[in-house]
């Protein structure tokens, strides 16, 4: 179940990342997964596919995204903080990169229907957007809990023409939305592509999703060198499943001097039972078709995760992260709800940028690291903008007026 790492960490391919990854899926889906893997292998080396993906990334998403020096925040923090602005992408987060890539693959497979799971709603919105753009049908599964905390994104998806299905099983969050999506896929595999929203799931998803996000790190690496004359000391990104983190880490994997730090959601706190610390507190196990670090009990039952951030509220993590953790190439640290919200406000007030609460976890990690490494250069993935989180943050900071509260 293991394989030797490639000479360059950047060249490592699935299905296995060390002992993580693989394909653990019900037999009825194996044909679709094999077909997808074969199709993606062909897309990788097809210049026409890559050119179309590059065109969409440029003309539709708005790539390359900017690198913004957060000067006032840097002053407060005592380190130079650079923000990779995935929040400026069309639809407001990094998720659109992957969605456009997979929609192209789905089109090549002859599929006419996209299904997706979503936590924060950003992936659902991105998928609904691509479905509109490509003229495909779209169904998005979303935990009932998340439909409540991300009501704005539910409305966006519906406006885009997608059907949003609230999932009432299990913990009624992201994990259960994935289960429902996979069920739909079994029943409709002929017409349907399951558009996995993060670097998780069975091979080829972790590798394919990573590849569609690689531009984040490649652009940021060049932009950082252009701006500062060198590489950053550390690259920080929040980790739910870990797609924005994999995207920005990937370009730096072979730069041994660059610290890679993933920030996991610690919810009520790392010393409580209510968190989403898959790597720090999980054990290797199987979920959603992959072997990875997983929050589970002694019987192998998946435990519920908790985070104020719907996008990080996932009890597993992408297998490449599990491997990078084990080989010591990346480090994973907890950020609690309270720390994330403090960073959320700090960035908002210092720079006039309202981040997604997911991204605020990465900002919090950077503020903390700045205290340890004063004067360092820290590259932070600002994976999304905070519009979707305004109600949550408004409640947290008690700035929502009564009328808005009624909604």
């Amino acid at each position: 179940m293991t394989d030797a790492p490639a000479a360059s960490l950047r060249d490592h391919h699935g299905p296995w990342f060390g002992g993580y990854g693989g394909v653990f899926m019900p037999e009825p889906l194996m044909a679709a997964i094999d077909e997808l893997a074969a199709c993606y292998e062909a897309c990788k080396v097809d210049p026409a596919f890559q050119a179309e993906f590059a065109r969409l990334s440029r003309d539709y998403t708005g790539r390359p995204s900017m690198l913004t020096e957060a000067s006032r925040l840097s002053e407060q923090a005592g380190a130079r903080i650079l923000l990779k602005r995935e929040d400026l992408n069309h639809t407001g987060s990094h998720k659109i990169n992957n969605v456009l890539g997979q929609a192209l693959v789905a089109q090549r497979l002859g599929k006419t229907r996209l299904i997706a799971e979503t936590g924060a709603g950003q992936h659902g919105v991105a998928t609904a957007t691509a479905a509109a753009l490509f003229g495909m049908e779209c169904v998005v599964y979303m935990g009932e809990v998340d439909t409540e905390r991300q009501a704005l994104n539910v409305a966006r998806m519906r406006l885009l023409g997608a059907e949003v299905v609230p999932v009432t099983s299990g913990s009624r969050t992201l994990k259960d939305a994935i289960n429902e999506g996979l069920r739909d896929w079994v029943a409709n595999v002929d017409s349907t592509h399951y558009l996995m929203g993060t670097v998780a799931g069975p091979h080829p998803f972790p590798e394919m999703v990573r590849d569609f996000h690689r531009a984040i790190g490649e652009e940021a690496r060049e932009q950082t060198i252009a701006m500062t004359g060198g590489l950053p000391d550390a690259v920080l990104a929040c980790v739910g499943g870990g797609s924005n983190a994999m995207g920005i880490f990937h370009a730096f994997l072979d730069d041994a001097d660059v610290q890679l730090i993933g920030l996991e959601a610690a919810g009520d706190g790392a010393d409580t039972e209510r968190h989403a610390l898959s790597i720090e507190r999980g054990e290797p196990g199987l979920l959603h078709g992959m072997r990875t670090y997983l929050l589970q009990d002694g019987d192998g039952q998946t435990l519920e995760s908790h985070s104020i951030s719907a996008g990080l509220d996932y009890p597993g993590v992408g297998p490449e992260h599990a491997w990078l953790h084990d080989i010591g190439r990346a480090e994973y640290q907890p950020v609690s709800d309270a720390e994330a919200m403090e960073a959320f406000l700090a960035l908002t007030r210092a720079e006039g940028i309202i981040p997604a609460i997911e991204s605020a976890h990465a900002i919090a990690g950077a503020m903390r690291l700045a205290r340890e490494l004063p004067g360092s250069t820290l590259l932070v993935s600002l994976s999304g903008r905070g519009d979707k989180d305004v109600a949550t943050a408004g409640r947290w900071f008690d700035v929502l007026d009564e009328d808005a509260r009624q909604q």
Partner: protein, 291 residues
């Protein structure tokens, strides 16, 4: 412990007209789940498929999912599974196959799980999300503890994948009737017949035979009868779980008896015998009636 009848022997003893009933272990509580399993064996089930409640049941439809979720909420632990298997096999000779997603086994320890299952008198495992290519540890453990391993073949499976399922399986090949999750359907797809024929042909080409039991979406005696015209067994799950949930052990016993009528040649579905017929369709030569 007396030598137990294997799954394959039980299906052959049924004249290749097996009825396999699925129930979740521990639903609605441990004692009732044991009574229910014994009752359906007595009513004519050739073998019992005992499901392990799991937090992320990817293959299950709403009925089984709701039942297993409530079982987990009640506090189900894997110890209960082994207790249930031991209690059921003490009272009926129908083989008890455990249907489980793979993570609970992995977490428990593959060999430890196999050892405990064998010690409890279990016949083997049905593994919906463990395909033969990932099953080396399980196959070795199954060999050591003389357990059946049932892999799935689906209408979408390639010939190569069917070959692997045939080669790795012992007991029968779980012949997935339709693309979808568990749950009663009005029509069992024609896909099932085509798949059962493909499995037989692939096995013959490889110079072996494979018993084929069809599952997913079967809920009536007529469907059982229909399936048995081309396969060696019919697997019924959601309908039994629903009956157990709604009407307890008497209801599940009654439904099993009515389904068992479908295993009889031409017999009308509603003229179900109260207990398993004593001829070839009976699940077990010895113990049922005495239970």
């Amino acid at each position: 412990m007396t030598a137990r009848i294997t799954t394959e022997e039980a299906i052959r003893a049924s004249g290749g007209r097996a009825l396999i009933g699925y129930l979740p272990a521990g639903f609605p509580d441990l004692a009732t789940s044991i009574e229910a399993a014994v009752a359906i064996a007595e009513a004519g089930c050739t073998a019992i498929e005992l499901g392990v409640p799991y937090s992320d049941p990817g293959m299950d439809g709403p009925v089984i999912q709701a039942a297993t979720q409530s079982t987990l909420e009640r506090g189900f632990r894997l110890e209960e599974l082994f207790e249930a298997v031991a209690a059921i096999t003490a009272r009926t000779s129908a083989p008890v196959l455990v249907m489980t997603y793979w993570n609970p086994v992995l977490r428990y320890g593959v060999d430890r799980f196999a050892e405990q299952l064998a010690a409890a008198g279990g016949a083997g495992l049905i593994t919906p999300d463990l395909t033969p290519e990932n099953a080396a540890d399980w196959l070795a453990a199954a060999e050591r503890h003389d357990l059946d391993r049932v892999f799935l073949a689906a209408p979408s499976s390639s010939d190569a994948r069917i070959d692997r399922a045939v080669e790795a399986s012992r007991g029968f090949v779980y012949t997935v009737s339709t693309m979808g999750t568990t749950g009663a359907r009005t029509d069992v797809d024609d896909a099932a017949r085509a798949l059962a024929d493909r499995i037989a042909a692939r096995a013959a080409a490889a110079g072996t035979t494979a018993l084929r039991c069809v599952g997913l979406g079967i809920s009536t005696a007529d469907q059982v009868r229909d399936v048995l015209t081309y396969a060696d067994g019919a697997i019924v799950g959601s309908a039994l779980v629903r009956a157990l949930g709604a009407g307890g052990v008497p209801a599940v016993r009654e439904l099993a008896a009515s389904l068992a009528a479908g295993t009889l040649d031409g017999g009308p579905a509603d003229a179900a015998p109260a207990i398993a017929p004593s001829s070839t369709a009976s699940s077990s030569p010895q113990k049922d009636a005495s239970a």
